[in-house]
């Protein structure tokens, strides 16, 4: 068995060369002779880690050395990967290791697409949760799994990464399409085939706000009127409401039906909500204002219903409109544009 390096003839079956010590067994595969390279983006983080390590070396306190070295190795080995993995697979891609996580990436992609398609339903929430899980797995796989020896540390890191990604997804979704908003409907409108719990999408376009008509569905932050505060405070969650009357119109509620300028509206398309059905009410809508149909829980505030109460809840200013509903996203069977 001839040594490739020194040409020494070794005994057949020898594992190493007697003369130079080189391993004689050949794997038969083409060995990679190009070393791995550091990404340019990792250089400053590595420099920082080195600097921290150096400070640790210079420190007189042993405990300081231990903590510093732990932080620096964490920075050096794990943080870089986690930071670049904000885009799933990016850290692997720049290190040419994408092949390692290609299946995870495909799973993530499928889950995120399913999650978006089913957004607004329980299945959608589960899909997006699983996509974040897959994303976490991609980020952790890059370095942390190899570097962290203790299961507790890995578990802790998984939780931290998962929660961080949860916030990142929430933040990013608002940044990518800032004008898009969505909310579950609380209204039941038989004429529009709309039931409570339908997930609706709204688009925040200033021009649309100028062209609000009767029958339009809009998203607002409603007034919560209660206690001694008749003016109300703004709710922090979007609510879907229906525009019933516009500026200058005379609105009446009589026998559970909306009457505009003396003409009855179709109760199928403009149903009076349960809390207003037994109340007689009339108002003339002021400039830049609208009367809305909104689902409201009067009993929760322990108040008697009166005109002022209804005015504060149901009459909104045009500036209060956040966006106009254009599409029903959920349930799947009813998915489509709202005209």
């Amino acid at each position: 068995m001839k040594c490739e390096r020194c040409q020494f003839e070794n005994i057949p079956g020898s594992k190493t060369c007697v003369k130079c010590g080189v391993i004689l067994e050949s794997t038969g595969e083409q060995e990679n002779v190009y070393p791995p390279r550091m990404s340019k983006l990792a250089a400053p983080i590595r420099y920082l880690a080195r600097l921290i390590r150096r400070c640790g070396i210079l420190s007189a306190k042993r405990i300081m050395i231990l903590s510093v070295s732990w932080i620096s190795s964490f920075l050096d080995d794990i943080i870089t990967g986690l930071v670049f993995s904000v885009l799933p697979g990016f850290a692997h891609l720049i290190q040419k290791r994408f092949k390692e996580i290609r299946w995870l990436f495909i799973v993530w992609l499928m889950l995120i697409m399913s999650g978006l398609f089913l957004y607004g339903s329980t299945a959608g929430v589960i899909c997006i949760g699983m996509a974040i899980g897959a994303h976490t797995a991609i980020a952790i796989q890059y370095k942390a799994l190899q570097e962290l020896e203790s299961i507790f540390k890995i578990f802790l890191l998984i939780i931290i990464v998962f929660i961080s990604l949860l916030f990142a997804y929430r933040g990013i979704s608002g940044r990518i399409i800032p004008n898009l908003t969505g909310s579950y409907s609380t209204l039941e409108i038989p004429g529009l085939n709309m039931a409570a719990g339908d997930y609706l999408l709204g688009w925040n376009n200033p021009e649309d706000k100028l062209n609000i008509k009767r029958g339009d569905l809009v998203l607002i932050y409603p007034n919560i009127v209660g206690g001694h505060n008749m003016e109300g405070v703004k709710s922090r969650t979007y609510t879907v409401v229906q525009i019933v009357a516009t500026a200058g119109e005379r609105l009446e509620i009589k026998d559970g039906v909306f009457i505009i300028n003396g003409q009855k509206l179709d109760p199928n398309t403009f149903p009076v909500q349960q809390w207003l059905k037994n109340y007689s009410y009339s108002v003339t809508i002021q400039e830049n204002s609208y009367f809305i149909s909104i689902q409201y829980n009067v009993n929760a505030n322990n108040m008697d219903l009166n005109d002022e109460y209804i005015n504060n809840v149901c009459i909104i200013n045009s500036n209060d409109i956040e966006s106009k509903i254009f599409m029903r996203w959920m349930p799947l069977m009813k998915k489509g544009l709202i005209k």
Partner: protein, 252 residues
């Protein structure tokens, strides 16, 4: 393959004159020579590539594995250097030089405990080379300077045909430790051996500049003449030109 045995370094880097016999055969030997040439020119990226090409032709050239690891260290890619030294050790498990370069990578990456461990292993092997002692010297420099000096002496005495590059690295080490006079001594010797090495001229120029010697400018210009458009040398030259009379005086 004996290192630097047939090294021709008589052209301006990176140009090569065409020989009458035509293009040279691009075998392992050719790429190895090119790698050394790039290394002496301070072009570590190209040197790394040429070492890799050498291994593509013949993966049993141990010196090319060491060269690759050293180039990764020069490029500041210490983690990768450690990975690569480990890979080389799979093929050459008893080579002291591979343990030494791994120790150097650990040292430069500010992991002294691991560096000392690897360096201890390297010197405990049978075939201790001059490179091993030189790396040992770097690791010991801040702790025990007398030990470091004796390590450097051993490295130079064991260097044999590699004396040029060992002296160059000794000079660079001393320069980094701000021992400019001793560094100049070694670098002058390197220039005698490799008069066409831009790196040697550059390092010498930097040492002279630090000491406020007037010939620093000419020395760095010489390195730029040998390797035109070398950014590092250009920066050093402009820095050298900016130095005023008093800074030169007080440095001296």
């Amino acid at each position: 393959m004996a290192r630097f045995s047939q090294l021709e370094f008589d052209e301006t880097y990176p140009e090569r004159k065409k020989t009458l016999s035509g293009e040279p055969i691009r075998d392992a030997k050719y790429f190895y020579k090119e790698a050394i040439r790039s290394q002496l020119a301070g072009d570590f990226e190209l040197a790394l590539r040429n070492y890799s090409r050498t291994l593509e032709k013949n993966r049993m050239i141990f010196e090319a594995w060491v060269g690759q690891t050293l180039m990764l260290i020069e490029l500041g890619e210490y983690k990768e250097a450690i990975v690569w030294a480990d890979k080389a050790l799979e093929n050459f498990p008893d080579q002291s030089e591979l343990f030494a370069v791994k120790a150097l990578a650990y040292w430069r990456d500010s992991q002294p405990e691991k560096a000392i461990d690897s360096s201890d292993i390297s010197v405990s092997k049978n075939n201790v080379t001059s490179r091993v002692w030189l790396i040992r010297a770097e690791i010991m420099f801040n702790r025990k300077s007398t030990v470091a000096e004796s390590c450097m002496s051993k490295a130079i005495s064991l260097a044999g045909k590699e004396i040029g590059i060992i002296r160059l690295d000794t000079g660079r080490l001393l320069k980094n430790k701000k021992n400019y006079f001793a560094a100049i001594e070694h670098l002058n010797e390197v220039i005698r051996i490799f008069p066409q090495s831009p790196l040697a001229w550059y390092e010498l120029g930097c040492c002279q500049s630090e000491l406020g010697f007037s010939q620093a400018k000419a020395t760095i210009e010489q390195s730029l003449k040998l390797r035109p458009n070398w950014k590092l040398a250009k920066t050093a030259l402009s820095k050298c030109k900016r130095k005023g009379f008093f800074s030169k005086l007080f440095r001296r």
